[in-house]
C-alpha cells in the first residue's frame, strides 16, 4: 500500500513538473542557505579563533597607561617590574616573564636596505609566550641576554625582504649602526590585521636598549600563565605585584593595563556567535517560506484534482490512502528539495565567501534536512486532510 501511495504521489508530482520543480527550489534554497550561512558564520568564528590562538592563549600583556590622577606622575614599566614578577614566590600561575622594548630601525644586508615593522628587544621567554617558533637556526639564549650579544632572530617576512632565497642564519646585518648576527628565522604566522607579526627583528633586551632605546622603561611585559585556565589567576597576581612595586593602594588608579588573549578571544567569539545566529535566523526564515510554498502548491493541487479525488473515492479509496497520497506528495517535494539543498550547500561551502572559508557544521546539515522534511509533513497535512475529507459526491460534482 505504501508503495502504491508512493507511485501515486510520484505520478502527481510528474504531472506538473515545472510547478513541482519550483516548489522544490524553494525548499532547496532554504536548506542550502541554512547550511551555507551557518557554515560561513562558523568559518569566520574558526578563523578568528585560529588567529587569536596563534598569538598564544595563555599569554598576558602588561602595558603602561598614564595615571588617572594628574597628581601622581605615571610610573613606567621597568625591567625591575619584570624581575619582580619573575621572582615572586607567591604567584604560581606565572610561568615566565619577558619584558619587551619596541623600536624601529633600518636593517642593512650587503646593499639591501629595509625597514622592518618593528625591532623587539626581549628575553628568550618571549618566544614561547608569544607563540613564536623558529623555522631555521635557533633562538637566542639567556647567555646572549646576559652578555648583551649582538644576535638577532628575524621574522619570516623580514628575512624574505633582506635575504630573499639566501639562508640568513650566520649572516651579519646592520641594524641602525650596530652589526647583528642572525641566529634564527621564525615560522610565518600570517597577517592577522594591521601589523604583520612576521615583519620583525627580535634581539636580546640589553642589546636593543644599548643600541637604541637606552636603559629606561620597557614598553610591555609579556607574562605567560601556566595554562589557559590559569590566566585569570595570573592576571590577579600580576596586578597585585605591580601595584606593590608601583606603590599604588587603589587598584582603580593603576598605571598599567593587563590584557589577555583569552579575553580578546571570548569577546570575538561572542561577536561571531551573534553573527552566526543572525545568519541562521535569516536562513530559517527562507526555509519557512519554502514550507509555505509547499502548502500553497498542495492546496492548488488538491483544488485542481478534486474531481480525481472524487473518482478515487468512488472507486473505494479509503480516506487514509487519499491522505497518504497527498502527504506523500508534499513530503516528497520537501525531501527531494532538501536533499538537493544539502548537496547545493555542501558544494557551495567549498568556495570561500566574502573572504571567509565556510566550515560546515554537521548538525546544521542534519537539522536543516530534518526540519525541511518535518515542514513538508506539517505544511502538507492541511491540504492532504482537506483532500481526504472531501465527500465523494461533492468531489465528483466539482468541475
Amino acid at each position: 500500500m505504501l508503495w502504491q501511495m508512493l507511485r501515486f504521489a510520484l505520478g502527481g508530482l510528474a504531472a506538473n513538473k515545472v510547478r513541482s520543480a519550483l516548489t522544490m527550489l524553494g525548499v532547496l534554497i532554504g536548506v542550502a542557505s541554512v547550511i551555507l550561512l551557518l557554515a560561513v558564520g562558523n568559518g569566520s568564528s574558526v578563523a578568528v579563533k585560529d588567529s587569536i590562538t596563534a598569538l598564544g592563549t595563555n599569554s598576558l600583556t602588561v602595558s603602561s597607561t598614564s595615571a588617572r590622577g594628574a597628581a601622581t606622575a605615571a610610573k613606567k614599566l621597568t625591567v625591575e617590574d619584570a624581575k619582580a614578577l619573575a621572582t615572586a614566590t607567591d604567584a604560581p600561575a606565572i610561568k615566565s616573564v619577558a619584558p619587551v622594548v619596541t623600536t624601529t630601525a633600518t636593517a642593512l644586508y650587503g646593499n639591501i636596505s629595509y625597514q622592518p615593522g618593528s625591532v623587539v628587544g626581549t628575553y628568550p621567554a618571549y618566544f614561547e609566550t608569544a607563540n613564536q617558533k623558529v623555522a631555521r637556526g635557533d633562538y637566542f639564549s639567556n647567555d646572549d641576554v646576559l652578555n648583551s650579544r649582538k644576535v638577532a632572530v628575524l621574522g619570516s617576512a623580514t628575512a624574505k625582504q633582506l635575504f630573499d632565497t639566501e639562508d640568513p642564519v650566520g649572516k651579519k646585518i646592520v641594524l641602525g649602526s650596530t652589526p647583528f648576527t642572525v641566529v634564527g628565522v621564525l615560522q610565518a604566522k600570517g597577517s592577522t590585521g594591521f601589523n604583520d607579526p612576521d615583519d620583525v627583528v627580535i634581539a636580546p633586551l640589553p642589546t636593543v636598549q644599548n643600541a637604541f632605546t637606552g636603559f629606561g622603561s620597557v614598553n610591555q611585559i609579556l607574562v605567560q600563565a601556566g595554562s589557559a585556565e590559569q590566566t585569570t589567576e595570573a592576571q590577579n597576581d600580576v596586578s597585585r605585584i605591580l601595584l606593590g612595586t608601583h606603590a599604588i593602594a587603589d587598584p582603580a588608579k593603576a598605571d598599567f593595563r593587563i590584557s589577555s588573549q583569552s579575553s580578546l578571544l571570548t569577546a570575538r567569539e561572542s561577536t561571531t556567535r551573534t553573527f552566526t545566529v543572525l545568519l541562521g535566523a535569516v536562513a530559517a526564515i527562507s526555509l519557512l517560506v519554502g514550507g509555505i510554498g509547499i502548502t500553497n502548491i498542495m492546496l492548488v493541487t488538491v483544488t485542481e484534482r478534486t474531481k480525481e479525488i472524487g473518482i478515487r473515492k468512488a472507486l473505494g479509496a479509503p480516506r487514509a490512502v487519499v491522505l497518504g497520497q497527498f502527504l506523500m506528495e508534499s513530503t516528497l517535494l520537501s525531501v527531494l528539495g532538501a536533499g538537493l539543498g544539502v548537496l547545493a550547500g555542501l558544494i557551495g561551502s567549498h568556495f570561500s565567501i566574502v573572504g571567509i572559508k565556510p566550515v560546515v557544521i554537521p548538525e546544521s546539515v542534519l537539522g536543516a534536512f530534518g526540519i525541511a522534511v518535518a515542514i513538508g509533513l506539517f505544511f502538507g497535512s492541511y491540504p492532504a486532510n482537506r483532500a481526504a475529507r472531501l465527500r465523494p459526491i461533492d468531489a465528483l460534482r466539482h468541475e
Binding site: A15, I311, R312, A314, L315, G316, A317, P318, I393
Partner: protein
C-alpha cells in the same frame, strides 16, 4: 450465468430500499429530492421502496429533477439517505462509517459515469487496476485481472494508452472495465451513453448487455428510451417518487436487446 444458479426468489434481492427519503434544507425550506408516495390524508412522504433482484437489468428513467441522480448517489453509497433503510447485498449500508462505505463502494459497486471520470494521465491498464489496488490485491494478480477486464471490453491492445489518447467510446469502455474488474454485486451506470455518439452508444450498451447476460446485476440511469429498451425492467421517477415500474423481460432471461441489431 452459472449453471447451479438457484431459482429466482430463493436468494434475497441485491438491493432492498425501504421508505428512503432524501431531503435538503430545514423547516419550511425543506425540499424532498426523494419522497415516494404521500401518506393518504396527511401528505407526509412515505419514502421510496424498491427491490432489485440479482441478475436484473434495471433502467431508471425520469426528467431532470425527478430524483434519479439522488437515487443513484444513494444506491452507489456516495450519499446517505435522510431516512429509510438501504440493504446492499444483505448489508445495511445506513450504519456504516466512512471507511466501511469506501470498502462497500470498492467491493460491491462498479461505477460508470456519464463523463467517464477516468483518472487523468493514467494508462488504461492502471485505471482498471486502481480499484484492485485499493482492495489490496497483489500486483501480478491485479495485472492479470485488469488485462482480462480490458479484453472483455475489447481494449486489450490499448492497455498502455492514456485517457487523452482514447476516443470517448473507448474511454467509456475503459470505465466499464474498471467497474467490473472487482466483480461487484452491481454495476451502476449513470447516463453511460450521454456523452457518446450513436455508434459508441451501441458498443457500450452491447458490452453492458453482455455483462448482464453473464449474470451481473445492472442499474442504468438514463432519460433516453433507446437506452431503456435494453433493460429488463424500466422504473420511471417523477418528483421524487416512482410512478411506473414496467418489466420488459424475465430476470433470468437474456436482456431484450442482446444480439439484436438496433437500427441507428
Amino acid at each position: 450465468m452459472t449453471a447451479q444458479k438457484p431459482p429466482a426468489g430463493a436468494r434475497p434481492p441485491v438491493i432492498q430500499i425501504r421508505q428512503v427519503i432524501k431531503s435538503y434544507g430545514h423547516g419550511d425550506a425543506v425540499v424532498h429530492a426523494l419522497r415516494g408516495p404521500s401518506a393518504p390524508g396527511g401528505g407526509e412522504p412515505l419514502g421510496v421502496s424498491l427491490d432489485i433482484a440479482e441478475g436484473d437489468y434495471v433502467a431508471v428513467m425520469g426528467s431532470s429533477g425527478s430524483g434519479k441522480s439522488t437515487l443513484m448517489n444513494i444506491l452507489g453509497c456516495l450519499d446517505v439517505p435522510t431516512s429509510g433503510r438501504y440493504l446492499l447485498d444483505g448489508i445495511d449500508v445506513g450504519h456504516l462509517d466512512e471507511g466501511q462505505l469506501s470498502l462497500v463502494r470498492n467491493r460491491k459497486i462498479g461505477f460508470v459515469f456519464q463523463s467517464f471520470n477516468l483518472v487523468p494521465r493514467t494508462t488504461a491498464l492502471a485505471q482498471v487496476e486502481l480499484p484492485l489496488a485499493y482492495a489490496g490485491v497483489r500486483a501480478a494478480e491485479r495485472r492479470r485481472r485488469a488485462l482480462a477486464a480490458l479484453s472483455l471490453v475489447g481494449l486489450a491492445e490499448r492497455a498502455g494508452h492514456k485517457p487523452n489518447q482514447l476516443s470517448g467510446g473507448q474511454q467509456q469502455r475503459v470505465a466499464v472495465a474498471r467497474a467490473l474488474v472487482t466483480a461487484p454485486a452491481m454495476l451502476l451506470a449513470d447516463e453511460p451513453t450521454g456523452n457518446l455518439d450513436s455508434h459508441s452508444t451501441e458498443e457500450v450498451l452491447s458490452i453492458i448487455d453482455g455483462l448482464n447476460a453473464a449474470g451481473r446485476t445492472v442499474v442504468l440511469i438514463t432519460h433516453e428510451d433507446e437506452v431503456a429498451r435494453h433493460a429488463k425492467r424500466v422504473i420511471r421517477l417523477m418528483d421524487g417518487a416512482i410512478v411506473s415500474d414496467v418489466r420488459q423481460a424475465e430476470v433470468d432471461g437474456p436482456p431484450p436487446a442482446l444480439g439484436v441489431e438496433v437500427g441507428v
